[in-house]
Amino acid sequence: MRGGWRGNKMSAIQTIPINWYLLLSTVLFTIGVLGVLFRRNAIIIFMSIELMLNAVNLLLVAFSSYLSDSKGQVFVFFIMAVAAAEVAVGLAILMMVYRNTKSSDINMLNKLKW
């Protein structure tokens, strides 16, 4: 089984230029940005942020493979760890916010001003 994987001729690297991955990541990232701008529901915004993180992860993995350097993939691990931590805390904060405002609309959170 392992040997089969090793000789994998179906590697995307041979056939697809890295520019395509760059483009895909950019598009996914922009969709994440669009979500942040477009929606008012804090949870959706949060998910959009996850989407952006994954766009970056994808790019890291792509470069890692194209350069045959495993450090990029290790970085993705760390990003995952950070994302997990972030989600745990972020969702806890959202719970608090919801408990206090009875809403997940970020426009309710407008106390941060002059």
Binding site: N8, F29, T30, F38, M47, L91, S104
Partner: protein
């Protein structure tokens, strides 16, 4: 050739699901679309010879994080279409801004030089053996430190999640 088609197919799915995440009105649907989008990204990982990462990705994101999201949404009872709508003007400006961002990002990437491959091609770097070598050799300290991060996050989440002490 099949990999090329596979790439197009997965890319199409990823973009579509991502868009659905943003555009669907019901938060629960958004979450489910996001899970699908993550699966397509995992597919891309496999295409890129990062098999172990693909597995971890599915486990962590689709299995853990998204469940957490879903859980919270259920808990807060947000599955109705309760979200108040933004004005059309705001939506338009959001669309224009992200469109601009896309154009500028693509434009700036367009001029980038193509990378020069320094290492000989090695299809095995995505295997758990190689990753383990790197992780526990070059990145041992960050790896250990990340455990503290997770601990802190856990403590923080517990503290925040508690009912405020009256």
């Amino acid at each position: 050739m099949i990999t090329t088609y596979l790439f197009y197919f997965l890319s199409f799915l990823a973009i579509m699901f991502a868009l659905m995440v943003v555009l669907s009105k019901n938060p629960v649907h958004s979450v489910l679309y996001l899970v699908l989008a993550f699966f397509t990204i995992a597919g891309h990982y496999v295409l890129l010879n990062a098999q172990f990462l693909a597995a971890v990705h599915v486990i962590v994101y689709a299995g853990a994080i998204m469940v957490l999201f879903l859980f919270v949404i259920m808990l807060l009872n947000l599955n109705k279409e309760t979200e108040p709508h933004k004005s059309v003007w705001l939506k338009a400006s959001a669309a224009v801004a992200s469109g601009l961002l896309l154009v500028v990002l693509v434009g700036s990437l367009k001029g980038a030089e193509t990378i020069v491959q320094v290492n000989a091609f090695n299809p095995n770097i995505g295997l758990i053996e190689n990753l383990g070598q790197t992780l526990f050799h070059d990145f041992l300290l960050p790896f250990e430190v990340s455990s503290i991060l997770l601990l802190a996050a856990m403590v923080g989440a517990v503290m925040l999640g508690k009912r405020s002490i009256k």
